[in-house]
Symmetry: D2
Subunit: 337 residues, 4 copies
Amino acid sequence: MLVVMQEGASEAQTEAVINRLVEMGFNVHRSTGVRHTVLGGVGPMDDFDPAVLEVFEGVKECHRIVSPYKLASRHWRPAGTIIRIGKVEIGGPQVVSMGGPCSVESKEQIESVAASVAAAGAQVIRGGAFKPRSSPYSFQGMGEEGLQIMRAAADRHGLLVVSEVMDHLQIPLLLQYSDILQVGARNMQNFNLLRELGKVRKPILLKRGIAATIEELLLSAEYIMSGGNYEVMLCERGIRTFETSTRNTMDISAIPVLKRLTHLPVVADPSHGTGKRDYVLPMARAAVAAGADGLIVEVHPDPDHAISDGAQTLRPEQFAEMMGQVRAIAGAIGRAA
Amino acid sequence: MLVVMQEGASEAQTEAVINRLVEMGFNVHRSTGVRHTVLGGVGPMDDFDPAVLEVFEGVKECHRIVSPYKLASRHWRPAGTIIRIGKVEIGGPQVVSMGGPCSVESKEQIESVAASVAAAGAQVIRGGAFKPRSSPYSFQGMGEEGLQIMRAAADRHGLLVVSEVMDHLQIPLLLQYSDILQVGARNMQNFNLLRELGKVRKPILLKRGIAATIEELLLSAEYIMSGGNYEVMLCERGIRTFETSTRNTMDISAIPVLKRLTHLPVVADPSHGTGKRDYVLPMARAAVAAGADGLIVEVHPDPDHAISDGAQTLRPEQFAEMMGQVRAIAGAIGRAA
Amino acid sequence: MLVVMQEGASEAQTEAVINRLVEMGFNVHRSTGVRHTVLGGVGPMDDFDPAVLEVFEGVKECHRIVSPYKLASRHWRPAGTIIRIGKVEIGGPQVVSMGGPCSVESKEQIESVAASVAAAGAQVIRGGAFKPRSSPYSFQGMGEEGLQIMRAAADRHGLLVVSEVMDHLQIPLLLQYSDILQVGARNMQNFNLLRELGKVRKPILLKRGIAATIEELLLSAEYIMSGGNYEVMLCERGIRTFETSTRNTMDISAIPVLKRLTHLPVVADPSHGTGKRDYVLPMARAAVAAGADGLIVEVHPDPDHAISDGAQTLRPEQFAEMMGQVRAIAGAIGRAA
Amino acid sequence: MLVVMQEGASEAQTEAVINRLVEMGFNVHRSTGVRHTVLGGVGPMDDFDPAVLEVFEGVKECHRIVSPYKLASRHWRPAGTIIRIGKVEIGGPQVVSMGGPCSVESKEQIESVAASVAAAGAQVIRGGAFKPRSSPYSFQGMGEEGLQIMRAAADRHGLLVVSEVMDHLQIPLLLQYSDILQVGARNMQNFNLLRELGKVRKPILLKRGIAATIEELLLSAEYIMSGGNYEVMLCERGIRTFETSTRNTMDISAIPVLKRLTHLPVVADPSHGTGKRDYVLPMARAAVAAGADGLIVEVHPDPDHAISDGAQTLRPEQFAEMMGQVRAIAGAIGRAA
C-alpha cells in the first residue's frame, strides 16, 4: 500500500492515515519529499480497496502494490499451464480449435456440425443447451436433451464437448455430458457460480465480460482456482466500446497481456468478438498470430436459419477454410493448429 | 424490419432477402429509389436480430422498427407507474430516499444507521446480507442473520427494507424479510434470476449493468414483467467509461431518457455512481434535478471502518445534510423529498 | 516518482532502475518490503511518462506523484477564479447563461435570438462563424460577416459574445469581435492553438474533448495558462461512451470533480451533452444542481430549419422556460441565475 | 432517409414530417404497417443529420440510407487503391514497413535508426519534427532541422520519409522534405488542415482519432479526397476504452472492416496501439494476419533515453526480429513483407 499525501497536507492528516494503516495491520514507512509525503504500508492484507484511504483528508492518491490475484498470476507457475483432456492439450504448442452452433437445435444439426468440424481438424465441439437470451420472448435452449445430443455426436467423431453452465444448479448436468464447462461473459462475475466451479474437477472456459478489465478477468479465475480447480482457460470475446461497425471490439491485445500476466491458457472467440461472419476469418488469424492457445468459433450447417447468432456463424466450408488459414499462421510462428 | 440494399445490389440478391423475410412470416413492401432499394417487412416477430439479414449478400444495413420491449414501454402505461408499499409511493410526486450500509455488519451498526436515516427523513433502509465481491478472499456477507437484523431495525424505525438477491435460491429468504428485492448491476442479465423474480409479488429494484445500454436495461425489466410482476423500479448507478477520476461515470441523462421511454420509476445511486464520498451530495442533487423518483445512498456510522465500499459511504450527518439539499432541489421542481 | 519492483526482481534489475532515476536527476529512497521493493524518486522533473520505467525488466508498476499541471490546480489559487467581463462575473455566486445558435446564419436570425436570450435573462450570446463540420460537403460558416452580425446584435441587447476559434490564424479576428474565445472539443489538444491563446488577454472557454480525461482537460488549460492567460473556463459537453440513446454521455460528475481539482470556473453544455432538445432542460437543471458556474445552450428561432445541430437546439420559449427552472435550482443551492 | 413513426402517432404528426421532407427536396414514399408508419425519403441531399427529424413529435427513429462518404467508399474503386511512391507500392501485395523514432532528436540518432531499419528491410523512415505534446512543458520538436536530417539519412539508405504535419502552415515545409504527410490522431478532425491537404499532391497517412468511429475516419479521408488528393492511407492506432493495461485498445477488427468499406490502403501502428514495447511484436503480427497493408512502428537506438514515447519504442534488434516475424505471417497469407 502506497499513500501519497497532498502538497501541504498537515501533520495531523498524515498521522490519521498512519494510525489507520497501523490499525489495519500494516507496518508503515514514511518518506518525506520536497512536495509530498509518501507512506508505504507493508502488511498481511491483500484485499483492500485503495479508495478507502483516498477519501481521507489530505490524501492525494493511494496505490495497492500487491496484485489482488495470486494463483492466477504467472509468477505462481512461470512455465505456464497445459490443460490435458484425453489427447488434447490446451496451452501447449498446438492451437486448439472448437467449433459448433450457438444453440443446439436438433440431432441432425449437431451430427452435421460434428462431422464437418472434425473433418476440418477441430478438437472440440461447442453448442449451448441453456441459452442466456436478452429477450424473454426468445428460444431458451434444449436443456439436457441438447447435452445428450452433443455428447453422442462428439463421441462418434472423436471430439470433446464444451457447453455453457448458466447457473450453479446446472453443474451436475454439465459434468455428466461436457468435457469443458463454459462460463459466459454475463456470468464472469457471478461469484456464487464461480465458487461452485472451484469445487469441480473439470476444466473451465471463462469468458471475459464485455466491460471487464483484464484484472477483473484474472480475479474471476482466482475465484475458481481458490476452490482448488486450477484448470481454467480464459477467453477474449470482445469488449464494449463506442464503435458500432462490429458487435463488440475484439481486444486482441488482451492475448499478449494475459500471456504475460498469467500462466493460464488463452482462447479467442472471433464470432462474438466481431458479430459478423465476414470478419471471423481475419480475426481468427489475428488471434493466433498474437499468441492465442485456442479458438472457439460458431459454425452451423445453415447459419441463415440458425435460431441464434446466425450473423456471426460460419458455414462448414468457411470453417474449413479458416482452419487452413489458421494452420498457416500457426506454422509461421512455430506452432501447430 | 427495414432492409436497405447496397447501391448496385443485384436483383437476385434482393430476391434472396425478400424470400427469407417471407419465410420468416413478414409481409414485404419494396421501394426502389435512385440509389438504394429498401424493403419494409411487417410481421408477427418481435425478437429478431437485424444482424442476421445484414450478412446477406447485397445488404447495406437492417433496422428493427418495433421496440423489443412492450410491457416496459411508456406506450403501455402512459400515465406512469406508482409503486405503493405501505404508505410509501415510488414514482409519485415524492422523491423517495433509501439509505444504509453496503454490508450488514452487526446489530449495533444497523440500529445506528436505521435511527439516523429515519431521523433524516428517509423512507427505506438498504443493506446487503449477501455480497457479490470481486475477490474470493473478501467478506461474503452475514446471510439470513443480516436480514433479520435489518427487518427488526426497520420495523422499530418505521422504515421499509431493500436488500439484494444474488441468486434465485435466495428469493424465499429475501421475500420473508425485505420489502423490495434488489438486483445488482452484475446480475442485470442473469436471466434465470429475472425469470424467477417475475413470479414474485414484491417490488424489484433493478440496477443497470455497468456496460448495459438503456435498451438492455428495459429488456431486463421486460423479463421480470413478462412473468407478471409489474412493480419494477430502474436504477442508474454509473457506467464504465475511460474516465478514471470517478469509479464509474454516472449517466444522469439516463434519468430523462428513461422517463421518456418507460412508465417505470427511476432511482439513482450516487454512491456507486461516483465511488467517492465527496461527490455523492452534488450528484444526489443533480439526479433529483434531472427527475429521479428516488435515491439510494450508502450510509455507515463509521465509513472509514466499513467492511466494504467505505470510500463512497456517507457519515450519518452527511446523509442528513444531503436530505436537506435534496428537499430544496425537489421543492424547486415542484416535488417533495 | 514511485517505482514498485516485481516480486522476485533481482538486485541487478533494481540497480538498473535506480541508476536511471539518478541519471534523470531524482534522489532515490529505497524501501524493501516482504514481497516488493519500492523506490521513491524525488526530483526536479515534472513532465515524465511513468510508462518509460514500467518497461524496465523487473518493474511491476510506476506512479507519478506530482500532478502534471500546476497553474490549473486548486492548490495554486484555493479561493477559486472569478472571470470578470464588464458586469458579468463567471465563477462567482451567479450562474451565467449563454445562449444562441450553433451557426450564425443571418442578421435576422441573430437579432431574433439576441432579443429572446436577453429577455430570458442570459448574459452571453453564442454563435459559430467558423464551423468544424465532419462532412466536407456541409456549410462551413459565415466567417467575419457572422462575427460582425453577432457583435452588433449583442451590443444592442447588452450581451457579451462567445464564439469559436478553430485555428490560430483566426485569433485576431475573434479578438476584434468576441468577448470570450471558445476552443471546441475537437481542438482541445490542438497545442499550437492553445499556445497562441496563452498570449491573448481575453477569456477562453475550453471545451472538453469527447474522449478526454479530466486530467487531460486540465493539462490543456495549463497550456493556455503557462503562456500567461489565466482566464480559462472549462466546459463539460459530453463524452463518448457505448450508450447511443444520447449523442454523447454528459459527464455531470465532471463538474464536482473539476470544482475540487481546479480553481477555474466550470460551464456545462447540455445541448452537445445530450444531442436532443427534450433532454436539454433536465440536464441544465442537473448541471446547476451539481455546481456548474455557467450554462451554454443552443437556441434558434426555428430549430427545425437550423443549418446545423437543430435536433439539440431549443426554441426561444423553451430557453425562457429553462432559465426559469435554472433560477429555481440555483436558488435552492444558494446561488442566483 | 427512413423515418419510423411511433406507434399511435397522429396523422397530423405524420403530415408534419412529410412536409418537412418535401421541403428539403425529398420524394416521400409512405408505408403504413400494423403498428408503425414508415416514411422513405429519396432526395438529393447527402449531408443530413437524422437527429433533426428524430425530435419531431411522433417520430420514433430516423435512419440515413446513403453513406455520407462517396470517394472513400469501396464502391467508388472496387479494385482497391495502390499508392506508388518511387518503387514502393502501398496497398499492393507487399506489406510496407515504416520505422523510426517518435521525435527526431539528433543527426546521429537518425543516421543510426535509418541504417538499422533499412537493414531490417523497412521501406520508410518515420520521425516527428513537430511534436504535439499534452504538456506545455515538454520538448516540442526540432522543426525544419529535424526534417533535413531525416531527408538526408533517408536518401543515404534508400528510404522514403513520413513525418507529421500538425498545422496547415507547416505543409510547404513538409512537402519539401517528406514523401508522406502524416495527420496525427488529434488532428483527424482538424478540418482546416484536411482541406488544405486535399490540395496537395503527395500521399497522406491519416491516423484514426482515439475516439473516432470508422465512419468518422472515412469522412475525414473524404475531406481530403474531395479536394482532389486521392492518395490517402488510413491508420489504426488504438482507441480509448475502459481497459488500462494497454495505453489504448488497438482495434484490429478495424482492419478487415476498413478493407470492406473502402478502397484505401490500411496501415497499423502497434506502438501507439499498445503503448508498451513488449506488446508491439505480437500486435504487429496480428495486424498483418488481419490484412493490414503496412505497419508503422517506433524504433530508437536507445529507447530508455528517448525524449518521447520510449516505453512503446523498439530497439533496433527488436525491430529486426519483428520484420522477420512479419515476413513469416505475410507469407502465410500469400503476401510479402
